[in-house]
């Protein structure tokens, strides 16, 4: 868990040609995200682990495609998921970002927003029927 100064330090990322200052998820937004990703927790956990920086564009889009494929049961969930993490609407993500950009920022955003806790809470809630 992040403590003290590290917790308060804001994260800035480059996405869609903009410099975005990411707001930390509030408990309520976190619960919303948790309900969104709950059904995909096991696959998402695996998928997020394989995303690394310095990927070739083709490989990056392939890996993002894997995550999007993981969440294909409800179209739009993946974009909404990324949108909630970076504080943008799903439509904005779809229109302004590329796979490579997303792969570059996701690891830092995932860490900053404590996504592992979202996944832990999601699996504790027993919303796993789609992901297993």
């Amino acid at each position: 868990m992040l403590r003290g100064k590290r917790l308060r330090r804001p994260l800035q990322i480059e996405l869609g040609g903009q410099r975005i200052r990411i707001e930390r998820l509030s408990p309520q937004q976190g619960v919303e995200l948790c309900l969104l990703v709950g059904p995909y927790v096991p696959k998402l956990r695996r998928a997020l682990r394989i995303i690394k920086k310095d990927l070739e564009p083709a490989e990056a889009s392939q890996r993002l495609h894997y995550i999007a494929e993981t969440m294909k049961e409800a179209p739009g969930d993946f974009l909404e998921f990324v949108g909630l993490l970076v504080g943008r609407r799903a439509e904005w993500i779809a229109q302004n970002t590329t796979a490579l950009e997303l792969v570059a920022v996701l690891p830092a955003v995932v860490e900053y927003q404590g996504l592992w806790k979202v996944l832990a809470l999601g699996s504790a809630l027993g919303l796993l029927e789609l992901g297993e």
Binding site: M1, L2, R3, L7, R24, L25, S26, P27, Q28, Q29, G30, V31, E32, L33, C34, L35, Q113, G114, K117, V118, A120, L121, A124, L125, G126, L127
Partner: protein, 227 residues
């Protein structure tokens, strides 16, 4: 084992450390009264999770956090990460280490329950407190401050006592004997017990006619990732 563990807990209460805005705060495990209230909250959470209404889920999670810790989420928690970490710890802290058999009753949990005319919200918790107060003549304060496992184990014993007493009285009456005219004899018909007091019932094997079984090569995809 329950009693030994609870006596140990009395001398050294189980606590967890929760990260908050103002630093780390120590939270003690819920006693019987609060445990029942938290249990009601979790039951409601199970119900609203079926609809996936994020507002309802959030409200119930927030209420659980506030009841279990005694401090408000808005003023004490800074981020979701802190909230989730705290909530997961609290769930683990307040779960029973020996769940009593009557809480695992498959019949009562699986069947949708019909509301009785005298039912009201939270009656199950009050009923448990009432059973203990009535049987032992304890005060409300004393009952709600029991260790959760001890309170539930005592209720389990009270229910067993009552059932055995009823069986004894039933066995003495005429209605427990059914006359079989073909055999010209009466036989004893025992008083039915609740499911949690019966020995495990074997699961019936489903018999499938041969002509309905699959033919040809069967590909087992269990354990393989489908892409």
């Amino acid at each position: 084992m329950i009693l030994a563990r609870c006596l140990k807990e009395r001398t050294k209460p189980i606590t967890v450390e929760i990260e908050t805005k103002d630093g780390v705060r120590r939270v003690e495990r819920a006693r019987f009264g609060l445990h029942l209230v938290l249990g009601e909250n979790l039951k409601q959470l199970d119900t609203v999770l079926e609809d996936r209404e994020s507002q309802d889920v959030w409200e119930l999670m927030r209420r659980y956090f506030e009841l279990a810790t005694g401090f408000e989420v808005e003023t004490s928690v800074e981020s979701f990460e802190q909230f989730a970490a705290g909530l997961l710890l609290l769930w683990a802290l307040n779960s029973l280490f020996v769940p009593p058999p009557f809480l695992k009753d498959p019949q009562t949990s699986a069947r949708p329950q019909r509301l009785l005319p005298w039912d009201y919200e939270g009656r199950a918790a009050i009923l448990m407190v009432h059973v203990l107060m009535r049987t032992y003549g304890w005060s409300l304060d004393r009952v709600v401050n029991l260790e959760p496992e001890v309170g539930l184990a005592l209720i389990s014993e009270i229910l067993v006592d009552e059932q055995l007493q009823q069986e004894w009285e039933y066995g003495l009456s005429d209605v427990s004997r059914v006359y079989n005219p073909t055999a010209k004899r009466s036989h004893f018909k025992p008083l039915p017990r609740p499911a949690w007091m019966r020995y495990g019932v074997e699961e019936l094997k489903a018999r499938i006619p041969r002509n309905m079984l699959p033919l040809g090569k069967v590909i087992d995809v269990a354990g393989k990732e489908i892409t």
